[in-house]
């Protein structure tokens, strides 16, 4: 366990955390403002990656494909809100779980029919395909650094958007008291639709950016969705800041646990027992973290004001 390996895994963990944040941000926005639990958020991440596959193939360029894929995701988000999600405002959470699960089944199957079940790849943009030397013996792919940077950039942008702009003010007001905002003459349905589509676009952005380093396949949204749930439960449902902190925490713990837990266990138990227990414990680590945090703070690290 050298320092270099540790730093590489730190960066990998950061990168997973950034992807998680992009997905969790939309999830927590939609829940915080509209009180809707949207299981279909994971397939929106997956759809983003698939749209990116087609958009890069059509345009032949990563940079032209990205805005095209995001625009398509935005339109699909608006459509989904109009057709289904709008009917779920104010409904029981159980209704929302079932209806959005139905959407998952539909979209996953539709993706299989259109793009097939085999994993696809998005070509890495030429300019970002190399790696840079961060220190002696530590080369890290440029693209992954750009991914981390882009995610941090989006996080910053979101912060400014939510706290400094009129749209953000409406969003915060909507989260606090939607009927009151409506009574003051704001078209609440249009606001909700925009927020939902924006969240869908953030998830699609995560999917499109993850495409070149992960394989694009039908189940790719599922695991990320569950981890995003863990993130917003830890962070406090509805809290953007909580989502950011928790996403980085979960990303780091999951990645570092998978890389080093077996080695750490070897210090205290036999090698064979450690290699049997290590992977199992590593896959449990984020859930144990969630349980521990909930035990002390049942509403998460940054509970939204009730």
């Amino acid at each position: 366990m050298t320092l270099t390996l540790f730093l590489v895994q730190m960066l990998n963990g950061l990168q997973l955390g950034i992807l998680l944040f992009l997905v969790a941000a939309g999830l927590t926005l939609v829940f915080g403002v509209m009180d809707v639990i949207n299981l279909a958020h994971g397939v929106q991440y997956m759809l983003g990656a698939y749209l990116m596959v087609t958009a890069t193939a059509l345009t032949g360029s990563f940079w032209l494909g990205l805005p095209l894929a995001l625009a398509a995701a935005l339109v699909l988000g608006l459509l989904l809100e109009r057709l289904v999600i709008r009917q779920l405002y104010g409904r029981d959470h159980l209704d929302q779980v079932l209806a959005t699960f139905g959407i998952i089944l539909f979209v996953s199957e539709a993706v299989r029919m259109v793009w097939g079940s085999a994993p696809l790849a998005i070509p890495m943009p030429q300019a970002l395909s190399g790696s840079v030397r961060l220190m002696d013996g530590l080369n890290y792919p440029v693209y992954r650094l750009v991914l981390i940077g882009a995610g941090l950039g989006v996080a910053g942008l979101l912060y400014v958007l939510v706290t400094r702009t009129r749209a953000g003010m409406l969003l915060r007001a909507g989260a606090t008291n939607a009927p009151m905002v409506s009574a003051l003459g704001v078209d609440i349905n249009a606001l909700f639709a925009r927020i939902f589509a924006f969240g869908a676009m953030l998830a699609a952005f995560a999917g499109a950016m993850a495409g070149p380093i992960l394989s694009v396949e039908p189940g790719m949204g599922d695991n990320l969705l569950i981890l995003a749930f863990v993130v917003i439960v830890i962070g406090g449902i509805g809290s953007m800041r909580g989502a950011f902190v928790a996403a980085l925490l979960v990303g780091l713990i999951d990645t570092l646990g998978r890389s080093f837990l077996t080695d750490i266990l070897k210090l205290v138990m036999s090698a064979s027992a450690a290699s049997a227990a290590g992977p199992a414990l590593a896959s449990m680590s984020v859930y144990v973290l969630m349980a521990a945090i909930l035990f002390f703070r049942p509403r998460g690290l940054f509970p939204a004001p009730a």
Binding site: L88, S108, F229, I232, A282, P298
Partner: protein, 305 residues
């Protein structure tokens, strides 16, 4: 009385199935009945207690794994492995329930989902027992040394009997003082607390009972398929259980049974129609929700507290 008649007709029909069904049909019906057993246990906590557990497949999968692992280690008899399945699933429900039940509403849904997923990943990493690929059972469990479960018809009646027992237990629990406290906690937690009753312990006990019965369903399912795999614990299956309960109506003991039979047979029928059956099943589910005008009304009251 009408409900009793319905139950009688349903179980009589299920009992008559072996008279005309071939082996494939028997397997399908056994699968449906096993899922009905698991759905009944979920229906109890969901309908009676208002607890939307999104990790029910995990308890069922743990029951299945208990049978698989015991058999791998030489414990082949159902008189041992089935109780162990129930105990293992119940223990998992006890530990995760103790934490999850500190929360309510959406938090509860997400946390049970997360714990279910945790169990899923743990089974995936059990490399000694097949890991990702799952574990093939050497044979079905014996019962006191006899190989009864091997015969599809006998297996059918064993599953039917256990399903009937589960429905009976669920009905009796729902009508007991214990069940009344659960229902009161679902309808108006604040009032219940004002009466001096803390629903936490009641809910935890209900959660453990439901987990143990799901474990029993898992033990039966492992025997039906003679195989266990992490897919048994997947959250898609947990969601399917919720669909079964809600489609059948969580308010009665028979609802989840009807829902499970309906969903399994519908899925099988659609799968015969097209390999892309989910493209039909998904929108059907959305329509079911939108058409019913809210499931909360069916739960028999508002769940505010």
């Amino acid at each position: 009385m009408r409900r009793f008649l319905l139950a009688f007709v349903l179980f009589a029909a299920l009992a008559a199935v072996p008279a005309f069904a071939d082996t494939a049909m028997l397997t399908l019906v056994a699968r449906a009945m096993i899922f009905a057993l698991a759905a009944t246990s979920l229906g109890f906590i969901l309908g009676q207690g208002g607890l939307v557990s999104f990790g029910h497949a995990a308890t069922m999968g743990i029951g299945a794994y208990a049978v698989g692992i015991l058999m791998e280690e030489g414990g082949r008899d159902a008189l041992v492995s089935f109780p162990v399945s129930m105990a293992a699933a119940g223990l998992f429900a006890l530990v995760t329930g103790a934490i999850s039940l500190r929360t309510r509403g959406v938090y509860f849904i997400m946390i049970t989902l997360a714990f279910g997923q945790m169990a899923f990943f743990v089974t995936q990493s059990l490399s000694a027992y097949g890991g990702d690929d799952g574990l093939t059972l050497a044979a079905r469990s014996t019962v006191a040394g006899a190989r009864w479960l091997k015969d599809p018809k006998t297996f059918h009646y064993v599953v039917l009997g256990l399903l009937a027992l589960t429905v009976l237990v669920s009905t009796m629990l729902a009508r007991s003082p214990f069940g009344r406290v659960l229902a009161a906690g679902r309808d108006n937690e604040r009032r219940l607390r004002a009466l001096g009753v803390d629903p936490y312990a009641y809910r935890l006990v209900a959660y453990v009972i439901a987990g143990a019965f799901a474990g029993l369903a898992g033990a039966l399912y492992a025997n039906l398929t003679e195989f266990v795999s992490p897919a048994y614990l997947s959250w898609h299956r947990s969601a399917e259980f919720i669909v079964m309960v809600v489609a059948g109506g969580p308010g009665s003991a028979l609802g989840p049974v009807l829902g499970a039979l309906g969903v399994v047979l519908l899925e099988d029928g659609l799968a015969h129609l097209t390999e892309h059956w989910r493209i039909i099943f998904g929108p059907l589910l959305v329509l079911l929700v939108l058409a019913r005008g809210g499931i909360a009304t069916l739960l028999g009251g508002r769940r505010d507290g």
